[in-house]
Symmetry: none
Subunit: 129 residues, 2 copies
DNA sequence: TTCTAAAGTGTCGCATAATGTAACTATATG
DNA sequence: CATATAGTTACATTATGCGACACTTTAGAA
């Protein structure tokens, strides 16, 4: 077990926090409350700490002194935020909510090792299309 | 979690200091308050002491008798300044502020092991483009 | 040296944002 | 229905960012 599966409709409070669904909570707690949220264009991706570390390893092959490589690294890191689950909740920073077009409602989508956060209308669009 | 992530809008005081965001502060404190700030053309890069040392190692593989290598080394070292975080703040020397076009506002961009400092307009330009 | 201006440093308080707690509502389970 | 669990809202508490100000140090001129 312990992988993120399924789709959940959740709501954000006025500060941008949401309750982690009970089934996700168990999976998250296995790797500690630390996690990284990263904007990937139309949606957000939540990485548990370990999973993020694996990603960083892949990125470490890029050369920080090469302009193009550095730009790619920047795109990735600049839109990431480390946060943690506290009292069963995760706070999404304002800038990430804006990038993802999140207001009051959101859709969580399990992706096995990670899960995604969509705005409901974007989700419906890509579901329908 | 000890890596620099995310984007922060910060402001410089009249002396050119800025408050290090709380999340960066923890990461910085792990390697001591000592750090090196280095100009990399349109922006500045802040290296914690340890990370700077690793970089020096890499650069030491360059050949000091090769003109091009030597030029790269010179570019790198000549525009670096060592400074430190004091009372949670970092003072950016005037010459570096001028190189980066910094006035009152700035954008901090996490790059995992280091972070960058941009002037807001340059940052918007490279984001949009 | 002494004076003066400029640059660097520490601290405090306020406004705002982040966080924890608890109460309340909804949904599921038997 | 009664109970338990999950989800939501609201409010109290705490932390953070930032400006203001005072003090210290440095550098140069007289």
């Amino acid at each position: 077990m312990s992988s993120f599966l399924g789709t959940y409709n959740i709501s954000l409070d006025e500060k941008g926090r949401f309750n982690v669904p009970a089934k996700f909570r168990g999976t998250l707690e296995q790797s500690g409350p630390q996690l990284v949220v990263c904007a990937m264009e139309p949606f957000l991706v939540v990485f548990p700490q370990k999973e993020w570390a694996l990603n960083e390893e892949k990125l470490s092959s890029l050369n920080a002194f090469d302009i193009e490589d550095r730009t790619r690294l920047r795109e990735f890191y600049s839109r990431a935020t480390d946060c943690e689950m506290k009292s069963g909740k995760i706070l999404l920073p304002l800038n990430l909510r804006e990038i993802a077009g999140l207001k009051k409602e959101a859709v969580l989508v399990g992706m096995s090792k990670t899960f995604e956060i969509w705005s409901p209308d974007r989700w419906d669009k890509q579901e329908g299309g």
